[in-house]
């Protein structure tokens, strides 16, 4: 992807904020949000894993309606990456882990974006998360001993500097700070400024903040 195209995509999603699931004031959402934590406690801890790997086995990736409440989310047949990331963050926080929200821009081919358009339109939704050859994605961050690891709950894989997701190269990332004092995170040896889109250099080019 040309650098200007990536910058254009980053501008489109400049104000993007991590997806969040809403709570009804009624019992339904308390049951759902509590259930997913208890289920995680049963499954993920037994497997000795840090992350809730089972989400990917439970839900297929696909269109989700927004806004979305917890009681609706647990009953949906498909989750988009925003639901996966919101649920992953919820579960990691429930485990007492130092979780971060992370946004990503992936490279996409025209055939992929066409397919995604069909998939979303069939569900009556607009795939606003693609822009040219770029696709918006949400993942999870986990800070341990001062080092950020990025985990994609949609694919149940880790994203490392210089590597791609199974589907596509990750071109840019945006890490949301835990607090106002957190300006930078160390992503396995690579310093990422918080709150701005940063080019990963996965397909060449220099790693660093994307200009607007």
């Amino acid at each position: 992807m040309l650098d200007e195209d990536l910058i254009a995509a980053a501008n489109v999603w400049r104000a993007a904020h991590p997806s969040g699931l809403l709570m009804h004031s009624a019992m339904c959402c308390r049951v759902a949000a509590g259930w997913i934590v208890a289920n995680d406690r049963s499954l993920a801890e037994a497997a000795g894993t840090i992350v809730p790997w089972w989400l990917r086995h439970w839900k297929h990736w696909g269109p989700s309606p927004w806004p979305l409440h917890w009681c609706e989310a647990v009953r949906l047949g498909t989750w988009d990456c925003g639901v996966f990331a919101a649920a992953g963050d919820h579960l990691m926080r429930a485990r007492g882990l130092d979780s971060r929200r992370v946004l990503a821009i992936e490279e996409a081919t025209p055939t992929e974006t066409q397919q995604w358009r069909h998939l979303w339109e069939a569900a009556g939704r607009e795939p606003t998360w693609t822009h040219g050859a770029a696709a918006y994605h949400e993942v999870c961050g986990l800070v341990s001993d001062g080092v950020l690891s990025i985990w994609d709950p949609t694919e149940a894989v880790w994203i490392r500097p210089g590597e791609s997701l199974p589907q596509a190269p990750v071109l840019a990332l945006k890490v949301f700070a835990a607090n106002d004092q957190e300006l930078m995170v160390n992503w396995q040896g690579v310093n990422l400024p918080c709150g701005v889109w940063v080019r990963t250099g996965a397909t060449g080019g220099v790693m660093g903040p994307l200009g607007s």
Binding site: N39, L43, A47, V74
Partner: protein, 745 residues
């Protein structure tokens, strides 16, 4: 110096579980286009023989028929003065180490170096690569059974050089042990090893006379169904690991190639799986990443600089399936006729196990004594035994009342000790594990509650003098055949939401159904047919609704039963912790959960050695995490009754076969329906004393015309005679309550 080195590369099989030869040849051909490359294998079925980059191939006779001295002369003849041998076969490496390791152009380690990494390898602390727990398969069966339970029945049964089978219960372990003993021979160094979950990572290294030349790390990115690498990513070793590896290689004087197979767990700890004394089959993947270790090894031997030095093309590699033409001078043999069975020639019969036996070095490094041929007297097997107890007719199940009394007393005592003012702890005896009146009465005397799964069992409890308010109802058909209680039960744990709905209405006797009612939970991740599947959010939501309806008229309890003997002990403790999480959530959503009933069956040894001592901690943990709890109930299942009976049987036939003796007993799986589900002691009566039968190759066959009527395996039975009295321990619990009439009339 010869610019066209002659290199013999062995181990060319290129199937789903490939040898490294083709990858080595590809790497060498890239670096030395003019090298004289000779491929070597021991079966014409080795598919890699047809790889086109070899100048010549040598198909030696299978190891099973090779004259090793002659083969040594032939190898030396092929090598001449300046040839190099790179072996890709574990056992060939061993043979070469034994016979020709003094020749540095044969790139294999010394016997001493091989001994240093022999399975299961234990590496120096500096490498920070731990060894998963293991135990020799020559260990006593009860030790092996304990080992497997303590590792959650996630166990690998491994051969001395290669072959591994994953097993998850005792029957599978027995079968895997039998298969590997068939291949490698008894006492051949077979062992069981705990599975470690995590990412599979390997180190590829090569060394020359103890000097580490290069090493890289590979993380598997795709694997076959057998777990073999199908794609991977190559990376540098961490600096500290590289330095420690260089020290270790120097310390043991490693010479040649090696692959260190590891698992990295969720906490980042490295665990060694195997240290293979050869290149791995994915070696060309490292070459693609710019790290041609076969070429570096040849350079170390010859001083030749590679003619071409390709840069890294990718740090990741994949495998693909290729069809290639066969060599003109090596046509493919037919698949052998195999009678009525489908032809299966995928195995490549080079005779490695035979070579292992001929090398005579498959004995265990695990430090165990060879099996005894004289059993020890075991006075505890049948407490109080005297000649007057010898039965007139066999088979005969002998009840051991003192054993039962001790078990029940110990359980009641431990529960009393663990009880706290705010949280009582009680034991409940499952009637189905042994409904004999003596046991039910003992339980009542010692304050145990009883668990019934049918109204017939309720009747048995009432006949033993137990009141309904000391009976807990469980199971999917607890009201079958007709309700028989004169009053409320202590507890009822429903198995379905349909059943739960019943308890919103009135009981047949007018008052409350029970002191406490609640769901039996089917916890996520457990493979069970019982209970409410709380892993389904809809089911959980409906459970919350029903409990909300019930809470104003009944105390709410929760039950989780799952056999620790199946889940393993750590796995069961995890389920206990998970059950507290569900109790806590139900308390938050519905109202106070006051009872927790856990259990499902423990091995008697685990119950006595682990669970009884853990009760106090369990009560503390439960009270801390679910403060509304008032009662913690433990249902030990078979643990209380398994050892309360032994089965006596006489030998009715002695059968001698090649090198061993089998016997036929007049007992059968009709009296021991769980004969092969867990190990038990088998003893013989000699001079009035019970003597343990020691390990051997014999089998105790049951009297029935049933193929699976096997009462004992791997026993030394040569001294037995027709009429000898045998004893099988642990014949209570389900071996009693599930015994059946068969073959008697």
């Amino acid at each position: 110096m010869n610019a066209s080195p002659r290199i013999l590369v062995s181990g060319l099989y290129s199937g789903p579980n490939p040898s490294p030869g083709v990858g080595v040849v590809r790497s060498l051909r890239e670096a030395f286009p003019h090298a004289d490359l000779v491929g070597v294998d021991y079966s014409p079925r080795s598919t890699g023989l047809h790889w086109p980059e070899m100048d010549r191939v040598w198909v030696a006779r299978p190891w099973s028929e090779l004259n090793l001295a002659e083969h040594q002369r032939q190898v030396q003849g092929e090598l001449r003065e300046d040839g190099i041998w790179i072996s890709g076969l574990d056992l060939e490496v061993q043979w070469l180490a034994n016979t020709m390791a003094q020749n540095p152009r044969i790139l294999v380690p010394s016997t001493e170096a091989l001994n240093a990494i022999r399975k299961p390898p234990t590496l120096p602390d500096s490498l920070a690569i731990a060894t998963p727990d293991y135990l020799s398969l020559d260990a006593p069966d009860n030790s092996l059974f304990r080992f497997c339970r303590r590792h959650d029945w996630r166990i690998w049964v491994k051969g001395p050089y290669y072959e591994a089978r994953f097993v998850s219960d005792w029957r599978q372990l027995q079968a895997a042990r039998g298969e590997l003993q068939e291949t490698w021979g008894a006492g051949a160094g077979l062992f069981a090893q705990a599975h470690v979950a995590g990412h599979e990572v390997s180190i590829l290294l090569c060394a020359f006379s103890g000097r580490l030349i290069d090493a890289v790390m590979m993380t598997k990115r795709e694997v076959t169904a057998e777990g073999k690498t199908w794609a991977g990513a190559i990376a540098e070793l961490p600096v500290a690991l590289s330095a420690a590896l260089a020290d270790f290689v120097a310390a043991i004087g490693w010479h040649g190639a090696a692959e260190v197979e590891m698992v990295v767990d969720a906490a980042g700890r490295r665990w060694i799986i195997e240290w293979n004394p050869r290149f791995p089959a994915w070696v060309y993947g490292a070459t693609l990443a710019g790290r041609n270790l076969p070429a570096k090894l040849v350079t170390a031997v010859t001083g030749l600089v590679p003619e071409t030095s390709k840069l890294a093309r990718s740090t990741q590699f994949v495998r693909v399936v290729l069809e290639i033409p066969t060599r003109r001078d090596h046509s493919l043999p037919d698949i052998p006729e195999d009678g009525p069975n489908p032809g299966q020639s995928a195995k490549h019969p080079s005779g490695m196990p035979e070579l292992a036996r001929r090398l005579g070095n498959t004995s265990s490094r695990l430090g165990l004594s060879p099996p005894l041929h004289q059993g020890d007297e075991d006075p505890d097997a049948v407490p109080g035994w005297g000649p007057e107890m010898e039965p007139a007719a066999t088979p005969c199940r002998l009840f051991l009342p003192e054993v039962a009394r001790r078990a029940i007393t110990a359980a009641a005592g431990a529960a009393n000790c663990a009880s706290r003012p705010a949280l009582g702890v009680r034991i409940v005896l499952s009637i189905k594990t042994d409904p004999r009146p003596e046991i039910l009465e003992m339980a009542r005397e010692h304050g145990l509650m009883l668990e019934a799964i049918s109204q017939l069992e309720v009747s048995a409890a009432l006949r033993a003098g137990v009141e309904p308010h000391d009976v807990i109802l469980n199971g999917p058909a607890k009201w079958w055949p007709t309700p028989s209680s004169p009053g409320a039960f202590k507890g009822i744990f429903f198995d379905s939401l349909n059943e739960a709905a019943m308890y919103v209405g009135d009981s047949p006797w007018g008052g409350p159904w029970a002191g406490v009612i609640g769901p039996r939970l089917r916890l996520p991740g457990t493979n069970s047919r019982f209970g409410i599947d709380v892993g389904d959010p809809d089911v959980f939501g409906r459970l919350v609704d029903i409990l909300t309806d019930l809470k104003d008229r009944q105390d709410i309890g929760v039950q989780f039963h799952f056999a620790s003997s199946a889940a393993g002990l750590p796995g069961w403790f995890h389920l206990f912790s998970a059950s507290l999480a569900w109790c806590s959530l139900l308390t938050e959503l519905v109202g106070p959960v006051t009872w927790l009933d856990v259990g499902g069956g423990y091995d008697p040894e685990d119950w006595n050695d682990e669970i009884l001592g853990w009760l106090t901690e369990a009560a503390q943990t439960a009270a801390a995490r679910v403060p509304s709890l008032r009662q913690l109930v433990l249902e030990p299942g078979k643990a209380l009754t398994q050892r309360t009976s032994v089965l006596l049987s006489r030998v009715v036939d002695v059968r001698r076969r090649e090198g061993t003796v089998d016997v036929v007993a007049d007992a059968s799986i009709a009296e021991l329906p769980h004969a092969t589900a867990f190990p038990r002691k088998a003893l013989r009566l000699r001079d009035g004393a019970w003597i343990s039968l020691v390990p051997g190759a014999g089998t105790i066959l049951g009297r029935l015309c049933m193929e699976n009527d096997i009462l004992g395996r791997n026993l030394h039975l040569a001294d037995l005679r027709v009429g000898d009295l045998l004893c099988f321990t642990d014949a209570g619990a389900y071996d009693r309550s599930m015994a059946y009439e068969f073959g008697r009339a």
